[in-house]
């Protein structure tokens, strides 16, 4: 079986999920708690990857991450390498594509927190950052887990965006979904079956872990 592709998918999903959680939590806080006229414009922008065809998103990312694009140029100045056809490049791309999958569950969880809890914390003199860390995040644990899992699963199966930005470079950007696609094209159905089955089993176990964690948090009343 193509372990390199599977390993690459897992690594991509893990790295991107963690980075996305770190980035999306403050963003979601902003979306839920900061009052701002015209905030719906930003919300629509964050949700855009949900409805945008992956090829359209991939095409824009190709422009932005390419050697002439702003992000690509910045990255090249910092590291000396381009972003296209690299692991870092596809990580940035799947993060852009999966942002709504992280933000939505977080938003639901943040909105469910009792406002009196936050008012009390503010009255007791906690700073906004302290409230975020010590009141909001622990109370939104279920949402965090849901966000992590949705994002992880979404990235494990990512295809179009990776193909456009990363091509299919063995060991660097040929993730499992692309390997499966190429096996089918090359009529190597047995390998396609094996890799598909591996993805299926992994997805199932990810779900099992979430259910286990959720059960724990309910039992402890958090």
């Amino acid at each position: 079986m193509d372990m390199t592709a599977l390993y690459l998918s897992g690594k991509l999903a893990l790295v991107s999920t963690v980075l996305l959680l770190v980035l999306a939590a403050p963003l979601t806080y902003f979306l839920v708690y900061v009052r701002l006229p015209g905030k719906f414009l930003l919300e629509a922008l964050v949700g855009l990857p949900l409805v945008l065809p992956p090829t359209v998103l991939g095409f824009y990312l190709l422009t932005v991450l390419g050697p002439q694009g702003p992000v690509g140029r910045f990255w090249a100045a910092m590291t000396g390498n381009g972003l296209l056809f690299t692991f870092a490049g596809i990580a940035v791309a799947v993060m852009a594509h999966s942002l709504p999958y992280t933000v939505q569950p977080l938003k639901t969880a943040f909105e469910k927190i009792d406002p009196r809890l936050l008012e009390t914390a503010a009255v007791l003199g906690l700073s906004r950052i302290a409230i975020f860390r010590r009141v909001i995040l622990p109370n939104a644990l279920g949402g965090l887990v849901a966000a992590a899992v949705l994002t992880f699963a979404h990235i494990m199966g990512e295809f179009g965006v990776v193909l456009m930005v990363g091509g299919s470079i063995p060991g660097k950007t040929r993730v499992a979904s692309i390997a499966i696609y190429e096996y089918v094209e090359a009529l190597r159905y047995q390998e396609a079956w094996q890799l598909s089955l591996a993805l299926l089993v992994i997805s199932y176990f990810v779900l099992l872990i979430v259910m286990y964690l959720n059960r724990g948090s309910v039992a402890h009343g958090t």
């Binding site: 390993y7 381009g82 887990v145 091509g167 299919s168 470079i169 063995p170 060991g171 089918v184 090359a186």
Partner: protein, 248 residues
């Protein structure tokens, strides 16, 4: 919360700790035109036995691979299915002097039975039961371009255009044919000679001359190893192997 973060980061550490399998030394990344993927697997194996240099392949339509190289894809060698793209790379200062490594042929292939009375590719295409025909995209796949040129030369293009189904590469056009999604497919002789290909029937397209496939070293790659590989690939002793896959 802290508990969850601990889990996430320990998993991250563990996976980060795995080193990517094998070292980057003695390794070549080769962009291979889809028609050549079958002989390439065998060639890579022999090359590894003899030199200890491992070859990773990335395959697709020639035009697609060319576009990727232009944008900086990390390939060491480019095995195209035409002369045009390697020459362009060379002219742009991105590739070495192109060398011919194989001559292929385009054929019309069908997995359907019951065409015993038919002897030419034009006859097959004119058969009323042939409703859908796969062709590799002429824009990006040289075999598709050659097939399109043959169709135009035979004055069949305008009449059959509605029946054409475009594959991204020869590989996809062949897959459409094998899965019976189409009644016939324009593919390379190498695919018609594969295990699945021999179950069907192929009609040579004499009007389309041999497709001269050229290769070049990508300048940003590992030039030393790449040159060893190109010398190996274009050596005379490769001829019998290439012939077995339908090349000359």
């Amino acid at each position: 919360m802290r508990y969850l973060l601990c889990i996430i980061f320990s998993v991250l550490l563990v996976t980060g700790g795995f080193t990517a399998p094998a070292s980057a030394n003695g390794r070549l990344t080769v962009a291979v035109a889809a028609n050549f993927i079958r002989p390439m697997a065998e060639i890579a194996e022999i090359f590894f036995q003899e030199t200890g240099i491992r070859i990773e392949t990335s395959y697709g339509a020639t035009g697609k691979l060319y576009a990727q190289i232009l944008r900086g894809a990390p390939f060491d060698v480019f095995l195209a299915a035409d002369r045009k793209r390697p020459r362009l790379l060379h002219e742009q200062g991105l590739g070495s002097e192109p060398r011919t490594y194989a001559r292929g042929r385009v054929v019309l292939w069908t997995s359907r039975q019951g065409f015993a009375h038919i002897s030419t590719w034009q006859e097959l295409l004119n058969d009323p039961t042939v409703v859908r025909i796969a062709i590799p995209s002429p824009e990006t796949a040289p075999y598709g371009a050659a097939a399109a040129a043959a169709l135009k030369a035979a004055a069949l293009w305008d009449r059959l255009r509605e029946k054409l189904v475009y594959g991204q590469s020869v590989a996809q056009a062949f897959q459409f044919g094998v899965s019976r999604g189409v009644d016939a497919a324009f593919v390379s002789a190498s695919y018609a000679m594969s295990r699945q290909g021999r179950r069907g029937r192929s009609f040579p397209i004499a009007e389309a001359g041999p497709i001269i496939q050229q290769a070049c070293i990508v300048n940003s790659g590992k030039n030393e190893l790449a040159k060893i590989f190109l010398d190996f690939l274009t050596a005379d002793r490769m001829q019998p192997l290439l012939a077995r896959y339908g090349y000359e």
